[in-house]
């Protein structure tokens, strides 16, 4: 036990490791905040950079970047409506309206505290229950991933805005956009029009930047002459009573984050979206209606995506299976440093496990410190006149999109999406469902096909197998509950009885 505490505290007591964790966290916040710069990218650069270092130093730096990066995406989501990272998509839904009201400072402060709470839940889960969680994650069959994705897609219903038909169209369009490229299962081109450029598909980050960032920038051109809203930065650190009030929601969301993060096929982006959906369903009296700047709509995704960091480390450390793209790169780093990531890692090098846990804890403490400082300058950024801010947003969108996979074609798509998204917005559509469809569509596609291929295309056998699995049954029951809860039974009943809707 004392040995484990020693490993846990290793990076706390060694000044150079302490400094590296701090530097990593700070850099991560900015990497996360700049769209197109991803933690995956930063981590793989760090590997060639830390090649000659000791493995602990490399891991400390990466843990900091990972923690900071997942959080940093919320900055640009709140301030510019451009989620800096996919995990911050849900954050933009209520975070940006808050900034439009002049509450950017409060929003960032609150999301910092909630991210740290989520981060700690993730770490505790990792430290206490890693083997249990990873065995649970292995139970998920393709059909269970399918159910998870479908549950996520139900969010279209609550994200649709004025008309369900428009929401459905946007969601289905997103699914279709997500299919562009070589089919991952048969290597056949879909929507590629026979060109090589389209084979790689359209990254959903490009769509996210276009539909969220550029289209909003174009909308803002309508009120170019309106003075930007004055940002209230008098109260950055959220008051204790507010934190306590939202603690239950934050903890619920964090648990969703841990589980979704630990599943090898899903990461912080889906965790945050599902947590947002959960908040929208369970919170009866939000501070404001969701989508118009509800604190709850900010707290749920921010807690969940940072909890997913701890979750993602679970299968990586226990089984050598990456929980997401970043942990895949970390596994590569361990290889290069001569370690053997795999099921024996925790048994043969237990110090690595406790070192990582200690490191993530430290990174979260730094996150709290760095997250709560410098907010004033950030918030003031949006007070910059739109005639300068909007062109800068456009350029940032271009570079960010290009950086994802070094492709100019992606930039064309991103700008095209921006203009198309502008039209959608002008005609009363919500753009959220498009991005949601792009994220979940490919998951639904491959999970469904994998599931039916596993049963030799025999749908009878498919149902039989699904009903034999307790996990599938639980997920199925949960999904039916979500579906039924969306149907307004009261109104239907009144209408059937011929009474006017209440």
């Amino acid at each position: 036990m004392t040995e484990q505490i020693g490993f846990f505290l290793l990076s706390w007591l060694d000044p150079s490791l302490l400094a590296l964790t701090a530097a990593g966290t700070l850099a991560g916040i900015y990497i996360g905040a700049i769209p197109g710069l991803s933690v995956t990218m930063a981590a793989s650069i760090l590997i060639s950079f830390t090649f000659t270092w000791e493995v602990n130093a490399a891991l400390a730096l990466i843990a900091g970047v990972f923690t900071g990066g997942v959080y940093g995406g919320s900055r640009s989501a709140i301030l510019l409506n451009i989620p800096g990272a996919p995990a911050a998509i849900a954050t933009a839904l209520d975070g940006y309206p808050l900034a439009r009201r002049g509450e950017a400072g409060v929003a960032i402060g609150l999301s910092t505290v909630m991210s740290v709470i989520g981060g700690f839940v993730g770490i505790i889960a990792l430290a206490v229950a890693a083997p249990v969680i990873s065995d649970f994650a292995l139970l998920f069959a393709p059909r269970d991933y399918l159910l998870l994705a479908v549950m996520g897609l139900l969010l279209v219903g609550t994200m649709s805005g004025e008309s369900l038909a428009k929401g459905l169209f946007a969601g289905a369009l997103g699914v279709a956009l997500g299919m562009v490229g070589l089919d991952p299962m048969t290597a056949e081109g879909r929507f590629t029009l026979g060109t090589v450029q389209l084979m790689a598909g359209i990254p959903y980050v490009a769509a996210m930047i276009g539909f969220f960032g550029v289209s909003e920038a174009l909308v803002q051109l309508h009120n170019l002459r309106v003075k930007p809203v004055k940002q209230d930065v008098s109260r950055i650190v959220p008051p204790w009573h507010l934190v306590r009030k939202y603690l239950p929601l934050s903890l619920r969301s964090s648990l969703i984050g841990v589980v979704i993060g630990a599943l090898p096929g899903t990461g912080g982006d889906i965790a945050a979206l599902m947590a947002y959906d959960q908040a929208k369903r369970t919170v009866k009296n939000p501070s404001r209606p969701f989508g118009e700047g509800a604190y709850e709509g900010l707290i749920a995704p921010e807690s969940a995506n940072n909890a997913a960091v701890g979750g993602a480390y679970v299968p990586m450390l226990t089984l050598g299976i990456p929980g997401d793209a970043v942990t895949a790169v970390i596994i590569g780093a361990l290889f290069i440093h001569g370690l053997k990531p795999g099921p024996m890692l925790m048994i043969e090098t237990p110090h690595l496990f406790w070192f990582t846990v200690g490191n993530l804890t430290l990174a979260n403490i730094f996150l709290l410190v760095f997250g709560l400082t410098g907010i004033r300058a950030f918030a003031k950024l949006v007070e910059c006149p739109p005639s300068v801010l909007i062109p800068l947003i456009l350029v940032l969108s271009v570079v960010g999109t290009y950086a994802i996979q070094n492709s100019v074609v992606d930039v064309y798509f991103m700008l095209g999406f921006g203009i198309f998204g502008y039209l959608l917005k002008m005609y009363g559509f919500q753009v959220g469902p498009v991005v949601l469809g792009m994220i979940l569509g490919p998951m639904i596609d491959v999970s469904w096909r994998r599931a039916v291929i596993s049963v030799g295309d025999d749908l009878g056998f498919f149902v039989e197998e699904a009903f034999a699995s307790p996990l599938t049954l639980v997920l199925l029951a949960f999904m039916s509950f979500l579906l039924l809860s969306q149907v307004p039974f009261g109104a239907l009943w009144r209408r059937l009885r011929g009474q006017p809707p209440g």
């Binding site: 060639s48 048969t186 090589v196 096929g265 299976i321 290889f335 099921p343 291929i453």
Partner: protein
């Protein structure tokens, strides 16, 4: 390290102002670009990133690595193909392009490229879920023959290691099984451990630790001799000696440049990669992971590629999995 990078970047901006004398300087006079055709964290990426620092030391210049993924590597290859043949752009690739034409993925493949260095190859390992009754490759294959269309294999898509090895196994006598494509070896191994697939073929590097921990059962290595990293796993030829004619077979990782780069650049690159690949740190890393260091270039590498392509394309053609007949592509039948 960080400092050096900044410095190099700073220097890179300076000659914009006027130096065109660079043409006269010896190769390489500045940063090179290395395009990796697979994603960060994958085998091609890890192998490339592990060897590059040693090559940079031998070359005296930095190689800026970037991943251009998609289209089973066709995107990265097409990109490098479109850049000037000056020796300053390298393609870090794997075996997949050799099958692009047969599988109708892209019209461009390694034809216009020259192998600078084949770094390492992995040996496929046939593994099963640990609760399955089979204890040898023969038991698995015979069970598939007895129960056609019942046993599930995790694959990595057409032309992938699992697909080709199962086709090769079927050349010993046909069987029918369900093949579920996953996004890569990692996700396939995950499904295998969860019982959502019964068996699969994985590169030795990715699976060795899982075998050692007893999480999966190794039935055979697809080789004509056991591997040093998995000494207790029998070679596939023990059960099916006729497979020997197809071996050695498996994924491999290498570095290519355009065919028409200046001879001086090619010689320098080949020499630098030969030195870099021979670095003990790199060879230990590779063999420790169960890979086989190749470090071949020139005619030897060309011959390896030609044989690999011929064997694989024709086995796919015989199984009806090829979309274009290798005969029309002038790929000779394996001798």
């Amino acid at each position: 390290m960080m400092h050096r990078r900044m410095l190099l970047g700073g220097l890179a901006a300076a000659p914009l102002l006027g130096a065109t004398t660079a043409r006269a300087q010896a190769f390489p006079s500045r940063d090179l670009l290395g395009v990796i055709q697979w994603g960060a964290g994958g085998a091609t990426d890890v192998t490339g990133r592990a060897v590059t620092p040693h090559v940079e030391a031998a070359l005296g210049q930095k190689i800026v690595l970037q991943n251009r993924t998609g289209g089973t590597g066709a995107i990265g290859l097409t990109y490098v193909h479109g850049l000037p043949s000056d020796g300053y752009t390298l393609l870090y690739g794997a075996e997949n392009p050799l099958l692009y034409k047969v599988l109708n993925i892209s019209r461009l493949d390694y034809t216009d490229f020259t192998p600078i260095c084949l770094l390492a190859r992995s040996v496929p390992v046939i593994v099963a879920n640990k609760d399955k009754p089979w204890n040898s490759l023969k038991e698995l294959v015979e069970d598939m023959r007895r129960n056609p269309g019942r046993i599930r294999m995790a694959s990595t898509g057409p032309g992938g290691q699992a697909h080709v090895v199962s086709t090769m196994l079927a050349s010993t006598g046909p069987f029918r099984h369900i093949s579920i494509p996953f996004d890569g070896e990692g996700p396939g191994l995950t499904a295998l451990q969860g019982g959502h697939a019964d068996w699969m073929t994985v590169g030795s590097g990715a699976v060795a630790e899982h075998v050692r921990a007893g999480r999966v059962k190794a039935l055979a290595v697809f080789n004509d001799a056991p591997l040093p990293s998995l000494p207790n796993v029998p070679p596939a030829t023990a059960d099916y000696p006729e497979l020997a004619r197809l071996m050695p077979w498996g994924s491999f990782y290498g570095v290519w440049a355009k065919k028409d780069i200046p001879a001086e650049a090619r010689e320098k690159l080949v020499a630098a990669f030969r030195t870099g690949t021979a670095n003990p740190q790199f060879t230990q890393l590779m063999t420790g992971n169960g890979n086989v260091v190749m470090n071949t270039s020139g005619a030897e590498a060309e011959a390896f590629l030609a044989r690999w392509q011929s064997v694989t394309a024709w086995i796919l053609q015989e199984a009806g999995a090829a979309r274009t007949d290798p005969a029309t592509l002038n790929i000779p039948r394996p001798s």
